[in-house]
Symmetry: C2
């Protein structure tokens, strides 16, 4: 890599059941917000990457990258536009490709977007489509749904490490507490441990409030070389590290159910290029598509030891005022989880945190931020480390 | 870009209605052939890119990039794996991302694959899924199918430039002639102009024999820095140029129905970085998903003037012995068109041509080769230029 890269503009739509708007309007809105967040004009953009997991299955639209350019009124530029798919990690992967394009000198200004429109299909369809991120032949076809696979992971974590049902609930409670202070969040409402424990069981031990919702939403980020950033913004954020990892798609093939090796691999690369360790991270967005995934994430990223995620969370270490504030945005659980948009939305939140613009959910004086975005049951993971401008 | 990149290994499955095999077996077979084509071992590979248009809709499997690594027995490497989607241009885009990753110094050895399993769904489903590459809201939803949109393009070309029905047929006749000499081709059988003109009308003026078939198949290519290539192969092929372009997704928004601006944009970049012009290209694979698209391609790439593609083809200039041999593999029409695999398969063919390994369909002493791969009705295009080792 030949040069440092900065985030200069970010844009996020409200997440939720947005029946009044469309796939293309969502991503266009997010892109326009990102453009208006800095002094970039559409003509400055040299390349576009967009993450979307299942636009084909949700809205019968593939080839979405040229569509995004077209909807934004920029088709006459004829620039390269590329869609990237990695299930729930699609957004993080699109961001990474945009980062690599700028870092390598291939392009100067790139935009990375993420979008999903999930609520225009019946709920049973959503479950089927989410199952496409597991191993179709060895898991989904045999009846194992996405919640069922995550329930296996949770059961094993409880059995092996003594994690309790209440500790899992605390993840959701804390993320809802943060989300209540995020105007873009799908659920801006605090809940209690009792809310979680009293919600319907979906796959033992996981209940409705252990899971992120199906959401509509989009997010976008504009990147450029760090040494050109000041012509576009007074608040650049440096991308200090980027890592990506993969794992066996089916749970049965893995050595352990309770470690996401893809996350560990991605984190190692990202920490190494940033030159920092887990203890240096001041604020973090992780992929809590299920409460159990947040515990795995904080363990695999090295914030606490394997198996101690539940106790660590219950002690308040991941709250806004804790040692490692996690998901100030409300996470996937409360902000919402439009699959392809999530990885980009995480980095929008961290950009606001590093710029000290996060309002009531601002973590105190963060210097280093980390985003962890995973796909399926952790078969793909992307980790990015950001640094506040000096 | 910091360094030259070489193709060191290629692998291709047979294309066709392959009911006896699966999505994962196809791409694993292609990848293994590519590995066996050079001295690379699985452990050497640093990154994987895979192109697939609609694996979600065809086989209910997203997150295919980790699956490919997993199926190949390489999951323990935990390397980054990324799926790229650009409809029929998915393969070319995946190859381009792999090329950029090696060229920028980010990784040393990358593998790019492409795969689609199209024949496990009913035929009417195929038409619906292909429609997802057009503009869903402004074209497909209103009843315009993929063949109907290409029929509009063909009608306009005939009206504006005097292209005849017979000239279109000659594209299919020639591609079948080439395909008859390709053991991997879906249709290894010559046809006549009468065969095309007598085949059922699907969208006036296009008939069944103007269109590429639905196919199953996969292809894979291994890339490394040119100055490291000789440790893996004695027959490296240099990637001299890479370009990508986009256009309005819906035909109605474009200035012209008969020019693919995305192809022109991609070709300009690729010619410029290779330092050659259209006249220097010795052998070429273009995206003939419909016969009309081959005429547009040879015009937009600069082999003949706009509007003269029909006459140029009828004169034999695009035959193996002509001025610009096109689609020696048989093209999409005869080799088959498993959407995500096509862009990679084109580059496999050109690699064999530049290595002088194409047997009865070998073009005489080619030095420069060009691949053009498009998505939808040309809203995305990727062009690569390859050079034979000196």
């Amino acid at each position: 890599m030949t040069r440092d890269v900065a985030i200069i503009g970010v844009g996020l739509t409200k997440f939720g059941e947005l029946w009044e708007t469309s796939f293309r309007n969502l991503i266009t809105d997010a892109g326009m917000k990102a453009i208006l967040d800095c002094k970039v004009t559409g003509e400055d953009i040299d390349a576009l990457y967009v993450g979307s997991m299942s636009s084909g299955q949700f809205v019968n639209q593939e080839l979405v990258a040229p569509l995004v350019l077209d909807s934004a009124g920029l088709a006459d530029s004829h620039i390269p536009t590329t869609r990237v798919e990695g299930a729930g990690a699609s957004g993080g992967m699109a961001f990474r490709q945009a980062f690599l394009a700028v870092a390598s000198g291939q392009v100067d200004v790139a935009i990375a977007g993420g979008v999903e429109k999930m609520t225009d299909v019946p709920e049973r369809e959503v479950t089927k489509i989410l199952g496409a991120a597991s191993d179709q032949e060895w898991e989904a076809f045999l009846g194992a749904t996405d919640p069922a696979l995550h329930a296996l992971i949770a059961k094993r974590h409880m059995e092996k490490h003594g994690t309790t049902r209440e500790q899992l609930a605390r993840v959701a409670v804390q993320n809802h507490k943060h989300g209540a202070q995020n105007p873009s969040a799908q659920f801006q409402k605090e809940i209690t441990v009792e809310t979680v424990l009293g919600s319907p069981l979906i796959a033992d031990p996981l209940r409705v409030f252990d899971t992120a919702p199906a959401s509509d939403g989009a997010a976008a980020i504009i990147l450029c070389p760090l040494d050109e950033a000041e012509s576009y913004t007074s608040r650049p954020v440096r991308i200090a590290g980027s890592g990506q990892g993969s794992d066996y798609l089916s749970l049965a093939a893995r050595q352990s159910l309770v470690t996401f090796e893809a996350t560990k691999h991605a984190a190692r690369s990202a920490y190494k290029s940033a030159g920092i360790e887990a203890k240096d991270v001041d604020v973090c967005e992780v992929h809590d598509s299920y409460t159990i995934n947040q515990l795995l994430a904080i363990e695999d990223l090295g914030f606490c030891k394997k198996g101690e995620g539940g106790a660590y969370t219950a002690r308040g270490e991941t709250a806004l005022t804790g040692a490692h504030p996690i998901n100030p945005s409300g996470g996937l659980k409360a902000r919402g989880h439009p699959l392809g948009a999530t990885g980009i939305a995480q980095i929008c939140e961290l950009t606001w945190q590093l710029r000290r613009e996060a309002g009531p959910r601002q973590v105190k004086n963060p210097q280093w931020a980390l985003a962890q975005n995973t796909g399926g049951t952790g078969a793909a993971a992307v980790v990015h480390i950001l640094e506040a401008a000096k």
